[in-house]
Amino acid sequence: MNMPASQVWTIILALALGSFLIRYSFLGLIGARRMPEWVLRHLRYTPVAVLPGLVAPLVFWPAATGGEPEPARLAAAAVTLAVGVISRNVLLAILSGGLTLYGLLWLL
């Protein structure tokens, strides 16, 4: 990554401040009225709305292969997702995905 240190630190500090303000928001404003139901309903879906979209291009068009879909990475992603859905265990899912990736990269 060729990003100047000043830009990296800007990102770190702004992200730190923004995260703090999000965390402090309602704690700091006790007595203020409750969040409207429709806002809460949207907030509930932020992680599942952002993370899958972030991952999808990395899975289908990995930079390491020049953007070509590649069986080891596709299989590793599928195994991670399946193990995660079934076991609800983040670590087990990471481990299974990693083993699949290394296993297939070694075999293929």
Partner: protein, 250 residues
């Protein structure tokens, strides 16, 4: 659990928080490794882990930085990942809102998935507990978790510099994200939002500077909220059909 043990709330918190070290450590090591592989010096890696202290947002920022996205897009996306913490903050407010300003600032800084989930469970079990005990339990939970996060990030950053690129670590980030998302897919609405996010991000990948992901994420949130409302309406209608003929209850 509350009241059934003579232990101090702080000690109880430490004991309840300790198992989560096992979850936090590998995750932090992975961040440290991925960040130093991406070329961040030790100071910047630790800047992320100590100042931001939010794994998913850190990974998101790191990924977009590597893609060369502009600063504003990086910030918007990473902060969107953290928006769930506004929900945590709102649900802790009735219990901890009475603390002093600096105490609330400390609670806010240390608000992570683990400290929230354990604390809110205890507060809801014993809502009448004194404010001081609630704070002590919260600080107890985070006492093993936060240092584990810092220390393991450091270990990962030091280790990462020594790992050759042949290890395909480019895929550590996708695997970690998928593993985090999978257990969240617990309702039709969550699955629908995730699908919308994937399809939207792939379809809008042509948009400049990673802005397609932001549009896709907003649309996916609306899809999740919309499906949830539909499901709730359908449930309500079914209930009316089942009980409606017997007349309204008082």
């Amino acid at each position: 659990m509350a009241g059934s043990s003579p232990k101090s709330p702080y000690l109880r918190g430490i004991l309840d928080g300790a198992p989560f070290v096992l979850v936090v450590v590998p995750f932090a090591v992975l961040f440290g490794v991925a960040a130093s592989e991406a070329g961040l010096p030790l100071g910047q890696v630790m800047g992320f882990s100590v100042l931001v202290i939010a794994g998913a947002a850190q990974f998101a920022a790191l990924q977009l930085m590597q893609e060369g996205a502009p600063t504003l897009v990086i910030l918007a996306t990473a902060l969107a990942v953290n928006l769930r913490m506004a929900m945590y903050s709102a649900s802790l407010a009735p219990h901890l809102g009475g603390l002093r300003g600096w105490q609330k600032a400390l609670v806010a800084y240390l608000l992570v998935d683990q400290s929230y989930m354990l604390s809110i469970a205890r507060y809801e079990e014993a809502p009448e507990a004194p404010l001081g005990e609630k704070l002590a339990y919260y600080l107890g939970v985070i006492t093993p978790v936060a240092p584990a996060w810092y220390g393991a990030s450091l270990a990962g950053a030091v280790l990462g510099a020594a790992i050759p690129p042949a290890f395909a670590l480019d895929f550590a980030v996708p695997i970690t994200f998928l593993a985090m998302v999978a257990p969240m897919l617990r309702s039709l609405a969550h699955v629908a939002a995730a699908l919308a996010s994937v399809l939207g991000a792939l379809a809008l990948a042509w948009m400049p500077h990673g802005s397609g992901l932001l549009v896709a994420a907003l649309a996916a949130m609306a899809v999740g909220a919309g499906v949830e409302r539909q499901m709730a309406r359908r449930r309500a209608r079914r209930r009316v059909r089942r009980h409606g003929s017997r007349g309204a209850r008082p």
